[in-house]
Amino acid sequence: MLANVKEYFKPTTVQEAFELFNEDRAHSVFLAGGTTVALMKSSSIERIIDLENVGLNTISEKDDNLVVGAMVKIEDFRKNELVRKHYGDFFFNAFSKVASWQLRNMATIGGSIAPKLGWSDVTACLIASDARLIVYDEQGFRNISIDEFNHTPKAEKPLITNVVFTGNGYSYSFKKFSKSTFDIAIINVAIGLKLQRDIIEDARIVVGSRPHFPVRFSVVEKGIRGLKLDNTTASIARNLTYENFEGGSNLLASAEYRQHLASIFVERALLDIREMVL
């Protein structure tokens, strides 16, 4: 229980929700799926702004893009027909490894990004798919990157309203290592590859739960661009990941262990894509 909560709001528009939040940021919190907020046990939270009724729970196509409401549940997202049309089985399989069925019925796409959780499997996959955010604040609606959102100071953070996926012919793979799928990842790797026949035209290689926030490993991406997707290239990527790994230790694992796992998973994810596509 959040013992000091005095007010619980259920606004019906994005604007109303943001204004309520902005009135007293220090003591307010947005409620998406609730799994993060409920576990905060924070005594400073006095006002909950529940986003359930603001109309952010749909998935639609706009031009070639997939526009996903921030309040769409992880489980609904992975099983959605439009998502499967655009991404095949990638999100269906990758997100089956996220927490448990119960948690996936609660946690939302937007709520997975907003708290900047280092171990978020969802965020790692969204970065690999180059997803962008529609956010709302005093300036109105804007389209920004996840990186831009994360670098916005807390006092100015906008409300995430949608996640936008641009269809662009990439192939994907996701790898996660944890004590169980229920547990948070010790390391996770999400890769998006654009192939011209068997040549890697572009690569997005994301390593998360290092235990820091998922980031793209640009040295590895540059190192394999233009190469043929085969065992040799996968080994090159493995070595580059190992050499350029930046991570830390915590109760789950040491930095050295994560470094080893990350490099192996990058190699395996690349070979998985080769298996799938070529």
Binding site: M1, L2, A3, N4, V5, K6, E7, Y8, K10, L31, G34, T35, V37, A38, L39, I45, I48, D50, E52, E75, S96, A99, S100, W101, Q102, L103, N105, M106, S180, T181, F182
Partner: protein, 157 residues
């Protein structure tokens, strides 16, 4: 704050603290099948169904549940007869200390409604958020597979 909660088809008018979790309110209303265990979204013992989907009541705000249909295990037995899922769990010894069984039963109910003929792999995936410290899970998985077979699904091959 005042709230109306629809639990097992019965509407309760309750006074809650706005920061209170659904688990606390359900137990206060007498739905003691909803177990308090880890209290941090890790064990699945507090599972209830909201609009037919399994969720964790320990991390769901009670105020969020207003306007939705909540189901607990108390709704399953009819006229003193156990639900077939409960019967099957008893037959295989799937309920030992029994503490986790309400959560298991509800997740299983939701699974079988969504997918009446799940494979063993699908059962294990659906139930991976319900922890049991007695059984090692084998007897519970067997209970569900037996029930599916009794209903005419999945061949023995």
């Amino acid at each position: 704050m005042k709230l109306e909660l629809n639990v097992n088809g019965k509407v309760h008018s309750v006074d809650i603290n706005p920061g209170e979790m659904l688990l606390d309110v359900l137990r206060r209303l007498g739905y003691k099948s909803v177990r308090r265990s880890c209290d941090n979204a890790s064990c699945g013992n507090c599972t209830v169904l909201v609009d037919g989907k399994p969720i964790l009541s320990c991390t769901t705000f009670a105020a969020r549940a207003a306007g939705h249909k909540i189901e607990t295990v108390e709704s399953l037995a009819e006229e003193g007869n156990l639900h077939p899922i409960q019967e099957s769990l008893l037959e295989t010894g799937g309920a030992q200390c029994g503490f986790c069984i309400p959560g298991f039963t509800l997740t299983t109910k939701a699974l079988l409604e969504e997918n009446p003929e799940p494979t063993e792999e699908e059962i294990r995936e659906a139930l991976n958020g319900n922890l049991c410290r007695c059984t090692g899970y084998e007897s519970q998985i067997r209970a569900i597979l037996n029930l599916v077979k009794k209903r005419g699904g999945l061949s023995d091959d």
